[in-house]
């Protein structure tokens, strides 16, 4: 690798949310193309293992990380000082997926079906919200916890009828396998569920004490994601090069699908809107999912995004 350490540069650690994937392409591009270095940073990209990225960021073990609006909302309600500094993808690309032959084309079809998730109360609330749009009853859905079991195994075995996936990764994998899925995106049924997932985050101390480092990081990441938006194929190659253990074809196809969705309809990559944060928190409160006080304005900031020329 050619990222020779520059000793004048600030060393920072970035922790991913889980294993590397196309949500992270911009970071890998910024690393490989030297954007971080140009902005005076030596960046080390870490996997979080079993720790949550938020905890590592909040405790200062990592300076930056990849998180989610859902998670930051809950974390801040518990006084965990994490702040979102850029939205990686403008709109929520997750949704409920099922095998095409199940004929689940709208939330009302969930009735009488089995949903497989990870056992969080939030899931039921989300299912309930989308089903409400069609006056369907969430109590008629059988919700099971499938723990660590992967989505494909569970649906192929008919243990579950539908699950919650990110189309940009699991959905693409299905395409590659030739498995036909029906997809019901959250955004189609509820504006409040169009939250930012994933986001880049840091802790309050960084913002207070080293704003210039935060600014440099966001600037370099922004350039990286811009590169991925403009050159999906090259960006995919960079990710594969950095993480050769990933499946190449999946990365390429996923990148192709995701690149246009990073910025989407936003004025610039990374931009976040207050009402998205407020709406989601409100939705959580409606469903009794939020313990503690949440202040949307302090949960995110656009201040570090590069200023428009």
């Amino acid at each position: 690798e050619d990222n020779t350490e520059n000793s004048d540069n600030e060393s920072v650690k970035v922790v991913l949310d889980w294993t590397p994937n196309t949500n992270h392409t911009g970071l890998y591009v910024a690393q490989a193309e030297g954007y971080f270095e140009e902005h005076g940073l030596n960046v080390e990209i870490m996997l979080p293992g079993e720790s949550s990225a938020d905890q590592l960021i909040a405790s200062g073990q990592a300076d930056f990380g990849v998180s989610f609006q859902e998670s930051i909302t809950e974390a801040r309600a518990q006084d965990v000082p994490v702040v979102s500094i850029a939205a990686v993808i403008q709109h929520n690309t997750s949704g409920f997926a099922s095998l095409e032959e199940k004929g689940i084309t709208s939330p009302e079809d969930f009735e009488g079906k089995t949903y497989g998730g990870w056992g969080a109360p939030l899931e039921k609330a989300v299912i309930s919200s989308v089903m409400q749009q069609e006056n369907a009853d969430v109590e008629k859905v059988d919700i099971v916890n499938m723990g660590d079991t992967d989505f494909f195994t569970a649906v192929e075995r008919q243990d579950i009828d539908f699950g919650w996936i990110y189309y940009g990764w699991d959905g693409i994998e299905a395409e590659l396998r030739g498995t036909d899925l029906n997809m019901i995106y959250l955004t189609e049924y509820s504006d409040k569920l169009d939250y930012y997932t994933p986001v880049l985050a840091t802790n309050e101390t960084m913002i207070d004490e080293q704003p210039e480092v935060v600014e440099s990081f966001v600037a370099a990441a922004s350039e990286g994601y811009q590169f991925a938006i403009d050159n999906p194929e090259q960006a995919a190659d960079i990710l594969i090069e950095a993480e050769p253990d990933l499946d190449e074809e999946l990365v390429r196809e996923s990148q192709k699908w995701l690149s246009p969705r990073y910025q989407d309809d936003a004025p610039q990559w990374g931009h976040q809107k207050l009402d998205v944060w407020e709406n989601y928190a409100e939705w959580m409160n409606e469903h009794d999912l939020l313990e503690g006080e949440f202040d949307a304005e302090s949960a995110f900031t656009n201040d570090f995004l590069p200023k428009e020329e």
Binding site: D54, Q55, A77, G116, W118, T149, E291
Partner: protein, 259 residues
């Protein structure tokens, strides 16, 4: 009861010192609650929320007990089979080692794929965790039978089975109990891990939820309960050992009473 107090004051003291130190250091170093909550908070949550989470405790407890019984029975069975059937002993080691080295991320889809989300695949996980220390300890115990006694048995015309039942088995009891102590301790963690295979309640589920909603206090409540269960379980085995190996405790009393 008096016995319990006499034996229990030292560990109790150690625990109290430990908790006091922890409580103090959260204050002194100003440790944030979301990073490491003080024991006082944990105990408060544990007491006030008991009615909310006790279902999880009982669900896991049930898994532990059933799993440990099946797991240790398998361990004993496997050790006996390997001991009595040389072909098995010589050929099965790779599989036994294998069984201890399949990561749950592989096992989970396979087990769920074969057996669904019910209790059965979870019991398999606990069994896999429990049988191994018992099997290994017991095998070693079987092989250490006294040479003179074994000669006597053979001369007296004892069948392999009789030698096993009357010599090797009683001789291996101390080893069995040392295996059981290890397994009893692991069975609790095994049960929690097995809930990663998908469960709707249980301490494993409770902890994941606590973790994703940034409630380390609840995680620690779960840990306290898990440790308490393990400890009780361990002490139960120690108590059983004293009952079963009475001829040895008598000997030990002799040699420990004298300085």
């Amino acid at each position: 009861m008096r016995n319990l107090i006499i034996q229990g004051w030292r560990p109790a003291l150690v625990l109290i010192v430990l908790f006091a130190g922890w409580e103090l250091s959260t204050v002194v170093f100003n440790i944030e609650k979301w990073f490491l909550p003080p024991p006082s908070d944990i105990i408060t949550v544990g007491v006030t929320e008991w009615t909310d989470y006790n279902q999880h405790v009982f669900a896991t407890l049930k898994l532990i007990v059933i799993g440990f019984v099946i797991g240790s029975a398998s361990g004993v069975g496997i050790a006996i089979a390997l001991h009595l059937v040389p072909f098995l002993r010589q050929s099965m080691y790779p599989l036994i080692i294998l069984s201890q080295n399949i990561p749950i991320i592989v096992l989970a889809p396979l087990l769920v794929g074969w057996f669904g989300f019910g209790m059965f695949p979870k019991l398999i996980v606990i069994t896999l965790v429990c049988f191994f220390p018992i099997a290994i300890s017991l095998l070693s115990g079987f092989q250490q039978a006294d040479r003179d006694l074994s000669h006597y048995m053979q001369m007296a015309g004892a069948t392999k089975r009789q030698i096993f039942r009357k010599l090797e088995w009683p001789n291996a009891l101390p080893s069995l109990f040392s295996g059981l102590k290890i397994s009893a301790t692991y069975s609790v963690m095994g049960a929690v891990i097995s809930e990663w295979l998908g469960a709707n309640n249980g301490l494993g589920v409770y902890m994941t939820l606590a973790s994703s909603s940034f409630r380390p206090d609840r995680i620690f409540v779960a840990i306290f309960i898990i440790v308490a269960i393990s400890l009780l379980f361990f002490l139960l085995i120690v108590w059983l050992e004293k009952r079963v190996i009475h001829w040895q405790t008598a000997e030990k009393r002799d040699s420990h009473d004298t300085p």
